[in-house]
C-alpha cells in the first residue's frame, strides 16, 4: 500500500488515541505534557502530508505471468 498514506492513517489513529486519552483526563500531568507534545507533532506531520500530497495514478495491467504490473496513467486533469 501507499507508504506515505499508511503513515497518514497511522498518524491519525495515534492522534485520535492521544486526544481521547487527554480528554478522559485520567493521565498525570507530566504524561499529559508528553502526549500534548506528541499530538502536536502529529498534527503538524499530518498537515504537512496533506500539503505535500499528490494523487498517484496507475493503470493495472495483467502481466504475462498473471501477476499485476502497473503502468503510468496520464489523465487530462493531471
Amino acid at each position: 500500500m501507499n507508504e506515505k498514506n499508511a503513515t497518514f492513517e497511522e498518524n491519525m489513529q495515534r492522534l485520535e488515541q492521544i486526544v481521547r486519552a487527554m480528554e478522559r483526563g485520567d493521565v498525570a500531568l507530566d504524561e499529559s505534557l508528553k502526549l500534548f507534545q506528541e499530538g502536536t507533532d502529529l498534527v503538524h506531520k499530518c498537515g504537512k502530508l496533506l500539503d505535500e500530497a499528490q494523487l498517484q495514478i496507475e493503470k493495472v495491467v495483467k502481466g504475462t505471468d498473471g501477476n499485476p504490473t502497473f503502468e503510468e496513467f496520464q489523465d487530462e486533469n493531471g
Binding site: 492513517e9 491519525m12 486526544v19 500531568l29 505534557l33 499530538g39 502536536t40 493495472v60 487530462e76 493531471g78
Partner: protein, 403 residues
C-alpha cells in the same frame, strides 16, 4: 375424374408451402400468455401461447433463446415474433419464435425485477453483509472504462479532496456482451492480489441498455463476493442497478462515488485543528487545576508560616497539658473527698466508737483481747479499755457462765 390420393408427407408439405407463402404468417407478432413452458437440454424452448379463445404452440430454438433478456415464465404476458409454419411430424402448425418481449413493461424491466427478487431472496442485498468503508483508503481501485468521462471526473475529485490516496485503474468495457465478464474479472483480480483498500465500480450515464452490464447477475455476485468494500457508481442519480443494491455503498454518480470514498482534505484540516484545540484546552485545564491544587497546598498554615504554625501547635500542647493537669487535680480532689467519706464511715464502725457507748474491752498483758474465762487465771493483770482511757485491774474471780 379420379381423385388424387396423397401421402401424409405430401399433405403436410403442401400445407407448409401454402403457409410459408403467406406474407402475414411469414412475419408475425403474437400477443398471448405463456403456458406449459419447457426448456430442453438441447437449448430449445417449447411453450404454448394462449388467450381466452385459443392456444398456439410455439418453439424457440437455442440460437434465439440465448438472446432473451428475461426468463420466460408461465402466466407471463408476452409478445412473440416469428413465423407460423408446419411441424410435419405432428401435422401441426406452430409459431417458430425468433424473439420475445414482455408485454406492457419492457423485457429489460422484467428481467431487472426478476433478478432483483431472486438475489434479494438469496440475501445478496442484506445490510448485515455490507462492509464498512475504510476511513482513509490508501489505494482506491477504479473499475470502469478508461475512455469515458467518468474516470476523469473521479480522478479530478479525488485529487482535489484527498490527494494522499493512490488510484489504481482497472480499465474494462462497461457495455456490450464483453462488459460483464471484464467487470467480474477486474473485481476478482483486485481481490486476489489485494490491489486496493476500496473499489469503485461503475460508469457514466447512458440508456438502460448501456447500463445493462451492471444489472448482470455475474457482476452482482462478484460484488457480493468481493472482500474489498465496493462503491457502485452507475449512471445518473435516478438510475438504479442491481449492482447498486449489492454494493456496500451506492453512489448516485461516479463523481459522487469519489466524494463518498474519501474525507475532504479541508474537513481533515478542520479535524486536525479541532484536535490541536482540544489538546491545548485539556492540557490548559489540567495545568490550571494543578496550579489550584498547588496554591491550596502552599496556602496551608504549615507552609505559609512554619514558626507561627509551630507556635500554635506548642500552645495547643500547653493547653492540652493544662487540661491534663487540671483533670488530674480534679481526680485527686474527688478521691480525697471519697476518702473522707469512707473515713467517717469507718470511724462510725470503729470499736473505739463502741467503747464510747459504754462497752469495755479487756486485754491480757500481751494485748490479747479477752473472749473467754479460760484465758485468764486469778491474780492475772489485765487492761480494760473504756471510752476515754485504760484501767489496770487484777482478776479476783473467774466464773464460767452456766449454759
Amino acid at each position: 375424374m379420379e381423385q388424387q390420393v396423397l401421402s401424409i408427407t405430401q399433405v403436410n408439405e403442401y400445407i407448409r408451402t401454402r403457409l410459408d407463402a403467406d406474407p402475414l404468417l411469414g412475419s408475425i407478432a403474437v400477443r398471448g400468455e405463456i403456458s406449459n413452458y419447457k426448456m430442453y437440454p438441447s437449448g430449445h424452448h417449447y411453450f404454448t401461447l394462449k388467450d381466452e379463445g385459443g392456444a398456439l404452440k410455439c418453439v424457440m430454438f437455442k440460437g434465439s433463446a440465448v438472446r432473451l433478456r428475461f426468463r420466460p415464465e408461465n402466466g407471463m404476458k408476452v409478445i412473440a415474433w416469428g413465423k407460423i409454419s408446419v411441424f410435419p411430424r405432428d401435422g401441426a402448425y406452430q409459431l417458430y419464435c425468433s424473439a420475445m418481449s414482455v408485454d406492457g413493461v419492457g423485457d429489460l424491466h422484467a428481467a431487472f425485477e426478476q433478478l432483483k427478487a431472486k438475489l434479494a431472496g438469496e440475501g445478496l442485498f442484506d445490510p448485515a453483509h455490507k462492509k464498512p468503508l475504510p476511513k482513509y483508503p490508501g489505494v482506491i481501485g477504479i473499475i470502469t472504462s478508461s475512455a469515458g468521462a467518468a474516470v476523469h471526473d473521479m480522478l479530478r475529485i479525488l485529487r482535489k479532496r484527498y490527494p494522499l490516496t493512490k488510484v489504481r485503474l482497472f480499465p474494462v468495457r462497461v457495455q456490450g456482451v464483453e462488459a460483464p465478464p471484464e467487470i467480474v474479472g477486474a473485481i476478482r483480480y483486485a481481490n486476489r492480489y489485494k490491489l486496493a483498500d476500496l473499489l469503485i465500480v461503475g460508469r457514466g450515464g447512458g440508456s438502460i441498455e448501456d447500463l445493462w452490464a451492471f444489472n448482470d447477475e455475474r457482476v452482482a455476485r462478484a460484488i457480493y463476493d468481493s472482500e474489498i468494500p465496493v462503491i457502485s457508481a452507475v449512471g445518473h442519480e435516478p438510475d438504479v442497478t442491481i449492482s447498486d443494491y449489492v454494493a456496500d455503498l451506492r453512489a448516485a454518480t461516479p463523481s459522487n462515488a469519489a466524494e463518498l470514498a474519501v474525507v475532504d482534505q479541508d474537513a481533515l484540516r478542520q479535524i486536525l485543528d479541532g484536535y490541536s484545540a482540544s489538546m491545548a484546552t485539556t492540557l490548559a485545564r489540567q495545568i490550571k487545576s494543578g496550579r489550584q491544587h498547588l496554591k491550596a497546598i502552599s496556602e496551608s498554615p504549615a507552609l505559609r508560616s512554619p514558626t507561627g504554625y509551630l507556635e500554635q501547635r506548642r500552645q495547643n500542647i500547653l493547653l492540652l497539658k493544662n487540661r491534663l493537669v487540671s483533670a488530674q487535680m480534679q481526680g485527686v480532689e474527688r478521691k480525697r473527698r471519697s476518702y473522707v467519706a469512707l473515713t467517717a464511715k469507718l470511724d462510725a464502725m470503729s470499736p473505739l466508737k463502741v467503747l464510747t457507748r459504754g462497752y469495755a474491752m479487756a486485754q491480757k498483758k500481751d494485748g490479747t483481747v479477752l473472749r473467754s474465762v479460760s484465758q485468764v487465771d486469778i491474780a492475772d493483770e489485765i487492761a480494760i479499755t473504756v471510752g476515754d482511757g485504760q484501767v489496770s485491774a487484777m482478776v479476783t474471780n473467774v466464773k464460767e457462765k452456766q449454759l
